[in-house]
């Protein structure tokens, strides 16, 4: 059913009339031209589509767009402020924490949600909380280092 949805997207008030049952992933990618959020598996297993809704990491491929009403959504495009990269983005660059880059937006946003809840995570905390985000190229060790560096930076 088409409905009007008001929410905040990357700090901007956004109004959208769409079928509320459509998933946030495809609305972002097709209606809002925000293609940084990726389709990886379509069933919530890989985390390439991770975005933040009210600062919680969600799998946008499983998330109906009607559920963002009145909420705040952050995608990879909204992480840098006034042209300044977020500490996580800087740390991913510094540690070469990516290869093909397809899982990267989801990795960064999931890591952001981890740090919002636990600003100084242990090595084990990072592994446990990143475990559901998949990277096929094997950039894992560097992603862990990048999250540690960003945590220090954000302190």
């Amino acid at each position: 059913m088409r409905e009007t949805i008001n929410f905040k997207l990357n700090d901007k008030p956004t109004r959208l009339t769409v079928d509320g049952e459509r998933t946030l992933l495809w609305v972002l990618r097709s209606e809002l031209s925000l293609t940084g959020t990726k389709f990886g598996c379509g069933e919530g297993y890989c985390g390439a589509c991770t975005v933040l809704v009210n600062k919680e990491a969600v799998r946008s491929c499983q998330f109906p767009v009607k559920d963002v009403k009145g909420k705040e959504v952050i995608t990879i495009e909204g992480l840098a402020k006034n042209g300044n990269l977020h500490p996580l983005q800087k740390a991913f660059i510094k540690h070469d924490a990516l290869q093909c880059g397809f899982c990267t937006p989801g990795m960064i946003l999931n890591a952001y949600s981890v740090l919002l809840k636990n600003p100084q995570p242990s090595h084990k905390d990072i592994l446990e909380n990143m475990d559901e985000n998949l990277c096929r190229c094997g950039a894992h060790t560097r992603i862990v280092q990048a999250i540690k560096t960003a945590a220090k930076e954000m302190k």
Binding site: L98, L134, C137
Partner: protein, 717 residues
């Protein structure tokens, strides 16, 4: 060319030529200085020459252009898949040309702008494309210095180039920039002779670690992958997938899907698709298509496949042999005969195969996630009936390849649908389609009979590999009586061998061969009662192999001990794409047979490394990815039906699996660069298998080493 050469070229219908003649080409690129690079002219390319068919282009393979703004563009048919060549190729160019890395723009894989290239695979970019690219840059620098001599009225030998500026060494203020020199010029030079290149001691950018030049785009979401490209009026397709390979459609009912607003159903023989302006809506409509199939009888499954392969294997061919096997057997005190198995595994790239095709008149533009854009160009031309020159393929960033994106099935599907729909059409495979249409690494069998004396000297090696391919099958130990045979037609198999498509998978064949060889070596070490490191040292003469082995042992802190003493250490050695690797690992195995790999050390001799940190990233990627085929990855199937269609049952490595990884790159900067993206992964099966044996005395002969298989091997016999 040998039939199982690791390039596995299959470009029989290729039309190989640069799309523009030289005059058009100059018009297109306007002013500046253009240097054409020809791989075939370079003397140092015997391997490439051997592998390339004679009908491939004789003209040139890449070029670089110095524009009137002083920026340097490198046009190459190679593609960035995550392996980092967008950075390392620019480093090679910048160093020889004496410009900053930041002034180089890489234009990759665009079939209208870049000269023909066979594809990005086999760890060939740096090895074969690197040297001529460096020569072209050196030539460009020589041309610029000639122009500067004229401009500054200074003799050639008094001029030096640095950071895009040429100056008089006796009077450095007397200088001119590359941009000034190229202004108003239209110079095209072909690299027709070898120019002298910098010695390793002169490098300022090469062999230095630099950050990936694509990182900024990739962390901000700006990096464009094929699925991110938009064209006016484009439609998204979802294609009906049959339940099994070999299934024949009996009937199809698309009426329910057709009732959905804005949905178009397209049928063309076996291709049945629904199209919509939104991909998710197309997916919902596809779910309403009902089809009946005739399923072929399932003759094999994931358990019976190995017997089947042995039954259908053709006569093998000796890859290499020496001495006399009977003599070797007589000289041996212990004979070890084992059979090693590995299952089908998927590429499972995070980005599924994607393509967008736009047709205008008799021209087509294609955006595709592909490792072989020029092959895709010809495939699209063929299916549309267009001349090849009317098709342009543009590969944006590719979200992982590993050999899986050398096949362009999704590109052909998108081309057919764009023609039928009369609109641009994007095909992006679902994860289930990705697992179904993938060309898996083949299931394979290796049988080895080997013999060793109590002294620890190996005398016999009789090796036959079925259906993996011969890459990496040649052993490198000092064994007097040996034979290595390969059968089964390489990784694509022989007709009737595999129930679905198989193909190259990161370091094809070598993962299978190295698992078998290095496991067998450890079994012999145990028979002779010798520590596995000492046993290898006794049987090796190759200096480069000894170099990586001792470097790994030092970093790892290996201490001598007979295997199966509960400590959980393993070793594996291998050679791939000219690179030597030694891996050591420490594992823990619990009573349920679950393995945690705690620590992996890799020592790698890859000759000159262009970007050492980039090379380490590839090693870490190999080790992490390799944990998957070692421990969990396996396609379950019955006949042509694939049961693993997403990451719930097909388990790839995760953060919680991570070992501590340490990489030692042997300093070999005076030797030519070798492969970097594949070598370390070949050792992952055996290094973990040998460590499991050391930990719990269980010898695993089949990959992946699942808890169930480990428990079975742990049972006292």
């Amino acid at each position: 060319m040998k039939k199982d050469d690791y390039m596995d070229l299959d470009f029989s219908d290729i039309e190989a030529h640069f799309p523009l003649d030289r005059r058009e080409f100059i018009k297109l690129f306007g002013g500046g200085i253009i240097i054409l690079v020809s791989l075939r002219d370079a003397e140092a390319l015997p391997q490439q020459r051997r592998r390339v068919r004679p009908e491939l282009p004789k003209d040139f393979n890449a070029f670089l252009r110095i524009g009137e703004d002083g920026r340097v563009s490198c046009f190459t048919g190679k593609v960035e898949l995550g392996q980092g060549i967008i950075t390392s190729l620019a480093q090679m160019l910048a160093d020889e040309l004496e410009v900053s890395l930041g002034s180089v723009d890489m234009v990759m894989g665009d079939t209208d702008l870049c000269p023909w290239d066979m594809g990005t695979f086999g760890s060939m970019t740096t090895r074969f494309f690197g040297p001529p690219l460096r020569e072209a840059a050196a030539k460009a620098r020589a041309v610029l210095i000639e122009l500067a001599a004229e401009y500054l009225k200074v003799p050639l030998n008094k001029l030096k180039a640095k950071d895009g500026v040429i100056f008089d060494i006796t009077q450095p203020k007397n200088q001119v920039t590359y941009a000034q020199l190229t202004k108003g010029k239209k110079i095209v030079k072909k690299l027709d002779r070898k120019v002298s290149l910098k010695a390793a001691s002169e490098f300022t950018i090469v062999n230095k670690s630099v950050s990936r030049t694509d990182a900024q785009e990739k962390v901000t979401g700006k990096a464009m992958f094929t699925g991110d490209i938009r064209q006016p009026g484009m439609l998204y397709a979802r294609i009906l997938r049959s339940p099994a390979h070999g299934a024949k459609i009996k009937s199809v009912d698309t009426s329910a899907a057709e009732k959905i607003k804005d949905v178009r159903v397209v049928k063309d023989g076996d291709l049945i698709a629904v199209l919509h302006k939104h991909p998710d809506e197309a997916g919902k409509a596809l779910a309403k298509v009902k089809a009946q199939y005739d399923l072929p009888e399932a003759k094999v499954d994931d358990k019976t496949i190995f017997d089947h392969l042995l039954n259908v294997a053709p006569e093998g061919e000796a890859v290499v042999q020496g001495g006399n096997l009977q003599t070797g057997e007589k000289l041996s005190a212990h004979i070890v005969e084992e059979t090693y198995l590995n299952s089908y595994v998927a590429h499972a790239t995070t980005e599924t195969h994607t393509a967008l095709v736009k047709i205008e008149g008799n021209k087509a533009t294609v955006w595709a996630s592909t490792q072989t854009p020029f092959r895709a160009k010809d495939e699209v031309a063929q299916v549309l009936g267009f001349p090849s020159k009317n098709v342009r393929v543009i590969p944006p960033f590719v979200g992982g390849g590993f050999g899986g994106k050398s096949n362009n099935k999704q590109v052909v599907q998108a081309a057919r649908l764009a023609k039928l729909a009369g609109k641009p059409v994007q095909v992006a495979w679902s994860r289930a389609e990705e697992f179904f249409h993938d060309t898996f690494r083949p299931a394979a069998v290796v049988k080895i009979k080997s013999g060793v004396k109590d002294s620890g000297k190996i005398f016999l090696w009789d090796y036959i590999v079925y259906f993996a391919g011969e890459r990496g099958s040649q052993q490198f130990y000092d064994i007097p009586h040996h034979r290595t045979v390969s059968t089964g037609g390489g990784w694509r198999g022989t007709p009737g061998s595999h129930p679905f498509g198989t193909g190259a998978w990161r370091a094809p064949a070598n993962n299978t061969n190295t698992f078998a060889r290095e496991s067998q070596i450890d079994i012999m070490a145990s028979k002779a009662g010798i520590d596995p490191l000492e046993f290898r040292l006794k049987n090796l003469k190759d200096k480069r192999m000894l170099g990586v082995l001792t470097a790994a042992a030092k970093k790892f802190g290996w201490t001598k001990s007979k295997a199966a003493n509960g400590r959980g250490y393993g070793i594996s050695l291998g050679i791939d794409t000219g690179t030597y690797v030694a891996l050591m690992a420490e594992v823990e195995v619990d009573k349920k047979g679950a393995v945690q790999v705690k620590h992996v050390v890799c020592a790698q001799d890859m000759g000159l490394s262009i970007n050492p940190e980039g090379a380490k990233m590839q090693v870490e990627g190999c080790i992490t990815m390799g944990l998957g085929y070692a421990l969990t990855e396996e396609i379950h199937f019955k006949g042509g039906e694939i049961f693993d269609l997403n990451f719930d049952t097909y388990e790839i490595p995760r953060f919680s699996w991570l070992p501590k990884i340490e990489t030692v790159l042997i300093d070999a900067k005076d030797s030519p660069p070798q492969g970097g993206g594949e070598p370390a992964i070949i050792c992952m099966g055996a290094v973990v298998a040998n460590a499991i044996y050391d930990a719990v005395g269980a010898r695993l002969l089949q990959l992946p080493m699942t808890p169930e298989r480990i428990r079975a091997a742990m049972k006292p016999k």
